[in-house]
Symmetry: C2
């Protein structure tokens, strides 16, 4: 299997790698002119790149036409996740990226234990984690971790952008197996809570904003388990886990 | 919701709690004669226990007829999991217990990084973790973590006890959605690998022992993510996550 690299420098049939990736390809992999690698472009497509030039710190390529990656699901899932205690969010990001999430949007809500603190620096770190996880998982797109939303009202206002929103709430509702089928949505939002769960008013607000309340069964899942179960279910039932 | 306690002392319409649980119920919850709690018996059934006596270190109950818990799935899933590096197995145990596993059987295999070391003491710790997770998740049964199997041959020899075995392997196979349906098995085995994955001979041996090879999609899941996705899928597709 050819090696894979993400690059933002890709346009007009040409591409380049710089920095650590260029070093890795030139000096660790000892690539030669004419060798091929897979380049994942900023458009989320995969390209075959043929090495045309190697100079210290820079490798250049001619590239084929881009094609959608088989590693990417056919629906874009955004995970809105109640901000958990430090550390748990990082594990949620890693797992979610492997499972195929497109975007992760942490939010603060009534019963959050966590409070906003140095979120700029944390967000940089979260996106680095997402990038590393995307590389390891063989993704062609780098999922984005958004800056946290200040409250649950901001989550509700964001929902208009999605075809379908599932709100994971202990109250339960229709079985997931009925709600999710192949092709049922192009943009799907999943909302899971923090350690403290949701206030009743938040559940009402979610419903008013068009979210469908759903449960994850009779066992109590921790706030770091629920998003993984929700995302696995979404990928599985839409045919994106096979 | 009444409090829930696990007890092994339950027979003939009577039950008791001792030690920490008795202290919690008597001194923290300040229970009185005649109050009711839910008792989870050693048979995995739930009982309503009515307090008949409170003395230091011991609470006694009369108990109703036992009933299956709604928190328990209608199929018994055993997770055979390739022994990962320290710490990951503990997280797999926690997640799996929440998701409804009945038994976890770690095993060593050709490409395992981990090697057996002080497994008696570790097994005690793993079972404590499973017990705590079962309490938190509202389970009525305490899943068991077995002593690790020495090699993959021992896994294969254990498979005769299951109606159906799914072997999660990068080669993939039939979609999970086709293989798992409500009522498809009473005893289901899931096999996932360690960091190093499986040797080709191990995959052949699993097939020869009746295991069905299945994939978890085109993205590469870490060894701690795959069992959670596999278990979520099994519970979801058999109707046990709603």
């Amino acid at each position: 299997m050819p090696h894979r690299y993400f690059t933002r420098e890709l346009a007009g049939g040409q591409a380049s790698l710089t920095g650590g990736d260029a070093h890795h390809l030139a000096n660790v992999m000892r690539a030669r002119i004419g060798e091929q690698v897979v380049l994942c472009g900023p458009d989320g497509l995969e390209y075959t790149g043929t090495v045309t030039s190697i100079v210290p710190g820079r490798v250049e390529f001619s590239v084929s036409e881009g094609a959608p990656s088989k590693a990417e699901p056919d629906l874009a899932v955004t995970l809105f996740v109640g901000y958990p205690k430090q550390g748990k969010l990082e594990e949620i990001i890693r797992h979610s990226v492997e499972l195929g999430v497109q975007e992760i949007v942490p939010f603060f809500s009534r019963y959050c234990v966590a409070a906003p603190k140095k979120e700029d620096a944390k967000n940089e770190r979260y996106n680095r984690i997402a990038f590393e996880a995307a590389k390891q998982a063989g993704r062609a797109k780098i999922p984005h971790v958004a800056m946290p939303l200040e409250n649950f009202g901001a989550v509700c206002r964001a929902l208009a952008a999605y075809d379908k929103t599932l709100f994971f709430y202990e109250g339960g509702g229709e079985p997931l197996r009925k709600l999710l089928t192949p092709g049922c949505a192009r943009r799907l939002a999943l909302i899971t809570g923090s350690e403290g769960g949701f206030a009743a008013e938040e559940a009402s607000a979610a419903s008013a904003a068009g979210a469908i309340p759903v449960g994850l069964g009779p066992r109590i899942l921790r706030c770091e388990t629920a998003p993984l179960a929700a995302l696995t279910a979404a990928m599985l039932l839409t045919g994106n886990l096979e």
